[in-house]
């Protein structure tokens, strides 16, 4: 088993906590002195920097939300003067107005360290060719993994997202061994492979880091089979840093968080109380080494569980179990909380190839409706040309989803290639209720 930084990745829990406590107290002092909104929040909560001596004091601190970043758009939460900031990124705007984040030279270096760890987690070495097919630009995915690959000493291939045929040709011609992209883009590349006569044997891929959107075990199987590699989950968000806040190791049993840089908590999103290890709740991060934007108790809206057991890979860093979805992504259908990832999981359990789908939410006669639109594939006509067979298929899909989410859905078959293909985060949900509300208000 290889490690990038064994000393910290395999450190005893007591040492990790001591380091976190020390770094936390310094960070809190620094934000209190340099970030006006934090000083105000802490004064309102009657917390003084000297009250925070260890991680046991963490829950005395107020939370930070995306709204705080929006209220102080663009640079109001920065803890350093602009002369120290060497780069900015902006969130992908998945959930509304984009937010801006900044990095000092040291922050960039820490990020590269975490991304290098991520690559080593999945078996990367300096002999690898790492093709980064996340978008380069304001999105953190591309540059984040790029710096990690260079830090590791591997060969970075800055492909960026898009130009899909070229991606496949690079796999083949450049001898790419590790890829980084969104899981939905990986699926669309597999489709393109089949259409253009590429075989996985044409490639030397061994591992892929897939992140920036939630995905399922069923998709993992499909990507591994389709590309002939091991598929690993990687997690990150621009507010905290970018990809590689946590990454799966080769045991594929949860993502190890870089705890020397980030303290993770799981809270009950309603009561805001911290939950014990093993309980599922909203993930909260505190940055303890960031200079430009050290967010305190940032509420990610992602749902996860923290597991502190030592992993078989030897790492002691806490693992976060795959988010079930984002609290932002959650749909409320007739009063029931529904995560799109639950639907995907049920859908793929019936038909593992059904990866081109769209969830359309609407309101008809004051009743929420959820329609699952599925693209037809040539092999579905081979089931026989009988209407019965297709109806049986849609009924099986419907039953699986209904029982998984507890809400009745309708399933509609579409002709092939009618849904838009994504090169970044896939658009899986179309909520027409929001559009209607907008018009009704006028």
């Amino acid at each position: 088993m290889n490690y990038w930084n064994k000393e910290i990745e395999c450190a005893p829990r007591s040492e990790i906590e001591a380091l976190q406590s020390y770094r936390l107290s310094l960070t809190v002092r620094r934000v209190y002195e340099n970030v006006a909104p934090y000083r105000q929040k802490m004064d309102e909560a009657r917390v003084r920097p000297e009250d925070i001596k260890s991680i046991a004091d963490l829950n005395k601190l107020p939370f930070t939300t995306k709204q705080d970043l929006r209220n102080n758009y663009p640079y109001g939460m920065f803890a350093v003067p602009s002369s120290e900031v060497v780069r900015i990124h902006a969130s992908s705007g998945t959930t509304g107005k984009q937010t801006v984040v900044g990095y000092t030279a040291h922050d960039i270096d820490v990020w590269a360290e975490c991304a290098a760890r991520a690559l080593v987690d999945v078996g990367g070495t300096k002999d690898d060719y790492v093709q980064v097919a996340y978008g380069y630009g304001l999105f953190t995915g591309g540059l984040g993994m790029h710096y990690g690959a260079e830090k590791l000493g591997a060969t970075a291939i800055p492909a960026s997202a898009g130009n899909s045929m070229r991606q496949l040709e690079m796999f083949r011609d450049f001898g790419t061994t590790i890829i980084c992209m969104t899981p939905s883009y990986a699926i669309s590349l597999i489709e393109l492979m089949h259409e253009n006569g590429f075989k996985k044997e044409d490639f030397r891929l061994k591992a892929g880091l897939f992140g920036a959107e939630p995905w399922t075990e069923e998709m993992r199987k499909q990507i591994e089979e389709g590309l002939g590699l091991k598929a690993y989950d990687i997690y990150g968000l621009s507010e905290i840093m970018g990809p590689s806040v946590s990454t799966e190791c080769q045991c594929q049993c949860g993502m190890h968080i870089c705890e020397d840089h980030f303290i993770a908590e799981v809270i009950d999103p309603d009561t805001l109380e911290p939950l014990p290890p093993g309980k599922q709740g909203e993930l909260v991060f505190t940055c303890i080494t960031k200079e430009a934007l050290p967010l305190i108790r940032y509420r990610t809206r992602d749902i996860a569980t923290l597991v502190y057991d030592k992993c078989e890979c030897g790492r002691t860093l806490v693992r976060m179990l795959k988010p079930q979805g984002r609290t932002d992504d959650m749909l409320i259908i007739r009063g029931v909380n529904v995560f799109p990832s639950q639907i995907e999981s049920a859908l793929l359990s019936v038909d593992e190839k059904a990866t081109n789908y769209l969830l359309v939410v609407d309101r008809v006669n004051n009743l929420d409706t959820l329609e699952v639109q599925l693209e037809m594939r040539p092999d579905m006509m081979q089931m026989g040309d009988d209407v019965k067979n297709l109806e049986r298929y849609t009924r099986r899909v419907k039953n699986a989803i209904d029982s998984a989410i507890g809400v009745g859905v309708s399933v509609k078959l579409l002709e092939p290639k009618t849904l838009a293909r994504s090169m970044g985060k896939a658009v899986r949900v179309q909520d027409n209720r929001a559009i209607k509300n907008k018009f009704e208000k006028k």
């Binding site: 040539p378 579905m380 006509m381 040309d385 209407v387 297709l390 002709e415």
Partner: protein
Amino acid sequence: MLIDQISVFVENKAGRLASLMEVLHNNGIDIRAMTIADTADFGILRLIVDDTQKAIDALKSDGCTAAVTKVIAFTVSDMPGSLYSVMKIINDNAINVEYLYSVMGRNEGRADIVIRVDDTDKAIKALTDGGVNLICKSDLCK
């Protein structure tokens, strides 16, 4: 004895059938028989054409989902009771009909019927033994 029939998945939306017909027209395909099975959301268009492979290629390159199915065709005299006598043979042999449709007639005094059953081999034998006049595609496409 078996005839190639093309089945095309058709989404239920305005103008879809017209655009499919345009594709066939542009490729000079002659339709000999057709029917549509429809549900609330989609339909399956079934076609027997003069050049099956050409039609399939044209439809697929247009982005359609299409497949070829084997069906049986027979001819009966165009008078009351003749279809009944054929269906009786089918029924007596415990063969299930999945669907059936008639071919656009162009022969005075005779009706051509296309039938899809659950057990094709058994149906061919039963119909032949029963004296039913099975026809092949060249008969259909005269």
